[in-house]
């Protein structure tokens, strides 16, 4: 009974909360810039508007073009069912589901890149090339962090790895967990195309990665892409939050802390975006390799 309530909360929070995050980030950046900025609920209005609009579809494209947004959205939604949020253990949990999580995101990335190449435009091809290149370096960082969590918790299920026992490990293996936290935050910025990897507000060839892949999408397909991007940001934010968040015995308190922490992560992302500039593209691999190395040292510290 309790599990059913928690799972329902999980699904509701996972589906309803994510579009709030880009709104919070935009508001934080506006405050730093001395502007008022768009309302925090703006992404919801944008999504509703987009789902009502018509579409323009390029004649160069095939079925793969519309498969991109669909696969991207469905894979992220399924991945969210595997991650524990708030007070709930994940609704779906089995040994090795961490591999499924990473590979579901990979499936979404593959089809997004193909949808971009389908348009036959140099712009979108460039975005797809950059996206897959940076993802290659971010994946090992994610897996090295998962190795640390697996070793500490002794379980291969995400619900167990990010579960109750993690709080007690911070005192013993705090160094490794701190390294994983920094590394996973860098991976969050990379996978969600935030500064310093990509500027989500610009439309210049020099500075786009994710934005440029979705240039030709419009209407409901674009709505699916924006919603999927918000879900992905929520997913990575949840992973980062679960690393540090303590678990209490009160369910509603846990959910409140979790929602507050996720919004806090969005504010931190907004602060980072306002204080740093985008890295030169040739320097991006250096930062991602640093993230991998930090996680790797987290593992080495545990097994030495």
């Amino acid at each position: 009974m309790n599990a059913a309530i928690q799972n329902t909360m999980h699904v509701v929070v996972a589906l309803v909360l994510p579009p709030l995050l880009p709104g919070v980030i935009a508001k934080t950046k506006a405050l730093f810039a001395g502007r008022v900025g768009p309302p925090v609920l703006q992404p919801y209005y944008d999504l509703i508007k987009l789902f009502r609009k018509g579409s323009v579809i390029s004649t160069t494209t095939t079925g793969v073009f519309l498969a991109g947004p669909v696969v991207g959205l469905v894979t992220v939604t399924m991945a969210l069912l595997l991650v524990p949020l708030g007070h709930s253990d994940a609704p779906i949990s089995f040994t090795g589901d961490l591999v499924l999580l990473a590979y579901l995101l990979g499936l979404g990335r593959f089809f997004t890149a193909l949808a971009a190449l389908d348009t036959g435009s140099a712009f979108e091809g460039m975005g797809a090339a950059r996206e897959v290149t940076f993802a290659c370096l971010a994946e090992p960082a994610l897996f090295l962090g998962l190795l640390v969590l697996a070793k500490l918790s002794g379980s291969l299920q995400l619900a167990g790895m990010l579960g109750n026992s993690l709080a007690s490990h911070w005192s013993g293996a705090g160094a490794s967990l701190a390294l994983v936290l920094i590394s996973w935050f860098i991976v969050l910025l990379a996978e969600n195309c935030r500064i310093p990897f990509d500027d989500p507000n610009t439309h210049l060839e020099l500075t786009m990665i994710h934005e440029v892949m979705v240039l030709d999408h419009s209407g409901p397909a674009l709505g699916m892409i924006l919603y999927g991007a918000a879900l992905k940001l929520f997913l990575f934010g949840a992973l980062v939050v679960r690393l540090v968040m303590p678990r209490t015995t009160f369910a509603w308190l846990d959910w409140l802390i979790f929602v507050g922490a996720i919004l806090g992560v969005s504010v931190v992302v907004g602060v980072v975006e306002s204080s740093l500039a985008r890295l030169r593209l040739t320097h991006v691999p250096v930062l991602l390799v640093t993230a991998c190395l930090l996680s790797a040292f987290g593992v080495i510290l545990l097994v030495r």
Partner: protein, 213 residues
């Protein structure tokens, strides 16, 4: 004690990588300065009874490592009109990877050293060896004179870390560290006075070949 030490040492290790990977000289100066400040706090945790003299020394160390020397370096950059790019001999990725290999080897090597039991589990020895290695890398793979000063500062941070192990045995260690930092200040003054904006080899090398006689 180790749970207080560890975060500082992890931050120091991370700052090694930052110093090796950043492409602007100001960034490297900030990283080395921050590392110096963090290391300045460490004697508080290693030495249980510190006394007034100890606190005074810590304040002087932090002031020197975190504010005076970096201030000198920034002033030198302006006076000698040094450009902001690091211009390494070895690419950023290679220096980062070499630094990582060195840090890994340091961690493995230090577990084989015969340390006293209270020191065996700490991250002190690996962190110090890794910092010495990063400083050495920076000294040898960066062209500009100011980068070699920064490499020397990093090297010295590493030796300071190692010396923290001997703090009870050698009470004047921190003072000696402060003196070494002052020596760096003289180094930097040399750069300013001679306007060495690029390599030390911008002094005419024919004078240097006279050394072989």
């Amino acid at each position: 004690m180790s749970q207080f030490l560890d975060p500082f040492l992890i931050a120091a290790l991370a700052l090694n990588f930052v110093a090796l990977g950043v492409s602007r000289i100001r960034g490297v100066i900030s990283a080395v300065a921050l590392q110096g400040v963090l290391l300045g706090f460490l004697p508080l945790f290693v030495h249980t009874d510190i006394g007034l003299r100890g606190v005074l020394l810590i304040i002087v160390t932090i002031g020197l490592k975190g504010f005076v020397i970096p201030g000198f370096l920034v002033h030198a950059m302006r006076e000698a009109e040094i450009q902001h790019e690091v211009n390494p001999i070895l690419s950023y990725m290679s220096s980062l990877l070499l630094g990582a290999v060195g840090t890994g080897l340091a961690i493995v090597f230090s577990s084989t050293l015969p340390l006293a039991e209270q020191h065996a589990d700490l991250l002190l020895v690996p962190a110090s060896l890794a910092t010495v290695w990063s400083g050495f890398l920076m000294l040898t793979t960066r062209r500009k004179a100011i980068m070699q000063v920064l490499g020397y500062l990093l090297l010295e941070n590493g030796i300071f870390l190692f010396g923290l192990l001997l703090l009870e045995a050698m009470p004047f260690l921190v003072e000696v560290g402060v003196l070494l930092d002052l020596f760096t200040g003289v180094f930097v003054m040399g750069i300013i006075i001679h306007h060495i904006s690029r390599e030390f080899a911008s002094i005419s090398t024919e004078h240097l070949t006279e050394l072989k006689e």
